[in-house]
Amino acid sequence: MTLSETPVASEAIAGPERRSLRHRLADRGVDRLLLLSLPASLFVLVFFIYPSIYGVVLSFRPLKPVGAFGNYTHFFGDPFLRGSIVNTFRIALPAAIFNVLAAIPLAVVMRGAVKGQRIINTILVIPISLGTVLVADGLLNYLGPNGWFNRVLMAAGLIGHPLQLLHNQWGVMLSLVITGFPFAFLLTLSYISGIDPKMESAAATLGAGPWRQFWHVTLPLLVPGLAITFCLSFVLAFSVFPSATMLGNPNGDSHVLAVAAANTAFQQYDFPMASTISVIAAAIELLVIGAVLGLRSRFYAGTTTGKG
């Protein structure tokens, strides 16, 4: 298509005045407000994209002359290092799944006008603001052999000797639930609040009891949101580090990818190898997110208001 074919364009060229930059940009589909994102783009470029690329490149430059893929072959050849993938999954996956599943019923209940809603929300949000280190510190005392948790259970006669909840995967998982659950809950709540309750009323008048309303109407509409919630919860749990070192057994079953990378970097001073571990962790996360979002696309993900 040439310009002379479109009357508007030819008129614009013939016009005596030069049109403003804003109009000329708009003709190309560019809103000049986009320029406002320039500083942020620059920031991301300098502090995220460049370091990421640097890290990836670094991972292919091992300290020892073992070839470009030397670090990768070393990682997958070493059972201890390789095992950190399994460890991470064994901690992050149950924690993320639990957080999402537990968030659903609570979000369903908290969605309407519940008395004391603000108090409950505040209680739930506190763990996020406290930070993982403080939570881990608290758990260290609470869940220890002489902590309240075991003492109460023993006093109640439910257990004969203290449960071993610290310095293994349980401790890490508990800490991930405490810090990750509020996050999953708030996200789920916002998704479920976007679903028009009239649709459940409609299902009710059509003969669906509360459970079938949830199963046939609410849940299908919530699935896309749950997928996102799971992805974010999983990513949070996958990069676990403070609670793994404090509550877990960082040289054993809690030797997760983040611990492996940190140890490699700051105890062995092998930055390329640490980069390799980080790259592997990122790749795994992307794979999981890709898989979840792939599944999500098979569900309905449009409007949730009952009106197109």
């Binding site: 028009d196 009239k198 649709m199 009323s201 409609a202 299902a203 009710a204 008048t205 059509l206 003969g207 669906a208 009891g209 079938r212 046939h216 109407v217 299908p220 509409l221 569900f299 309905y300 449009g302 409007t303 949730t304 208001t305 009952g306 009106k307 197109g308």
Partner: protein, 369 residues
């Protein structure tokens, strides 16, 4: 499913939200196959009444019975009523077919039977070609029809409709009215229809229930409510735009003749009230020229051409502005003589509670002298 009831009775049905009473002591009996409208301005309690019927809101007091069966304690899913929501509340993740099939599936109807009934109902609402689409791919009018199909496919004992046409444009609304009447005729389903649009209610239903502040004002056929509003509120709501505060004195002659005076006017009407009254007159009931000895002189202040008729504002010598509808062309500033048949003046006792409540969109009908 379709065991026909003969009477639906609401007795003393009330619903309060905290200290606000949305519905007060409503008594109503609906016969099988009836098409009833709950009509009133927003906040009059009509939607509350509908939600109470559907089981979506518990009653504060009162009972709802179907013949001898008490239903007000049943959850909505066990009442078996079909409901059409104002914004349709279609399931956006399901196809049109599955939206309509939903109620049948909940009732565990066999698959072949589901297919037959859904197809038949989609045929009825003329959406057979759209069965595979999602609600989001349909126009407003089509979504509306899906909502209706979804409610009637289960052949409910009672269909509840909550302002189902309010989201449609004027032309579509007219078409859908015809559709709704046809559906009601063909299916014979007892229908309770909530609307704030008096014209819609008049054209659709067999019986009108006019509500205000949670209380029934009048129950009657469209003709009755239109011609003989029970009180000044109903009159104002039914388009009696001239609400004249006047004083009534019985005439010497028998037969309920009334002398109405005030606002510099002197009219003859019919009725048995005395003292301060509201004389309610429809714009269409005012003719040019004297009528029944009633004659008002005034000047045409505003004339609006509305296709078939002109809508006039006529200012009398005592500065009262009257709404008049007429076929005759008049020019601005023209002196006219207006007449009203005496039986077309509705006379209601004036009281704080009986004061006309106009739609805020409309101008006040009368400027006090």
């Amino acid at each position: 499913m379709n065991d026909r009831f003969s009477q639906l009775r609401l007795e003393g049905v009330s619903r309060a939200y905290g200290s606000t009473v949305a519905l007060a002591n409503m008594n109503l009996t609906v016969g099988n196959g009836e098409f009833v409208a709950l009509l009133g301005p927003s906040g009059c309690g009509k939607t509350t009444a509908l939600n109470c019927l559907a089981g979506l809101l518990p009653l504060t007091s009162g009972t709802i019975t179907m013949d001898d069966r008490r239903i007000d304690l049943l959850p909505p899913e066990r009442r078996g009523f079909g409901m059409v929501f104002q914004n349709y509340a279609l399931f956006p993740h399901l196809s049109v077919y599955r939206n309509v099939a939903f109620g049948l599936q909940m009732r565990k109807v066999r698959r072949a039977e589901v297919r037959r009934r859904v197809s038949a109902t989609l045929e009825l609402v003329q959406l057979a070609d759209h069965a595979g689409k999602r609600p989001g791919q349909l126009s407003g009018g089509q979504q509306q029809r899906v909502a209706i199909a979804r409610a009637v496919v289960v052949e409910p004992q009672l269909v509840l409709m909550d302002e189902p046409l309010s989201n449609l444009d004027a032309k579509l609304r007219r078409d859908m009215r015809v559709e709704l009447r046809r559906l009601h005729r063909e299916l014979g389903l007892t229908t309770i229809y909530v609307t704030h649009d008096q014209e819609e209610a008049l054209s659709l239903v067999d019986r009108l229930v006019v509500l205000r502040d949670g209380q029934i004002q009048q129950v009657g056929s469209p003709e009755e409510v239109y011609r003989r509003p029970a009180n000044a509120f109903v009159a104002g709501f039914m388009g009696y735009r001239n609400m004249l505060p006047m004083t009534a004195t019985p005439a010497e002659a028998a037969g309920g003749e009334l002398r109405l005076s005030g606002l510099g006017l002197s009219l003859t009407g019919l009725g048995h009230v005395q003292g301060p009254v509201i004389a309610a007159i429809r714009p269409d009931d005012i003719d040019l020229g004297e009528r029944d000895g009633n004659c008002i002189e005034g000047v045409v202040e505003e004339a609006q051409f509305e296709g078939r008729e002109y809508e006039l504002l006529v200012r009398t010598a005592a500065e009262t502005v009257l709404h008049v509808r007429t076929h005759r062309h008049t020019t601005l500033g023209e002196r006219v003589r207006l007449g009203i048949a005496r039986d077309r003046i509705m006379v209601y006792p004036a009281g704080p509670d009986e004061s006309p409540e106009q739609d805020s969109a409309e101008p006040l009908p009368v400027q006090a002298p």
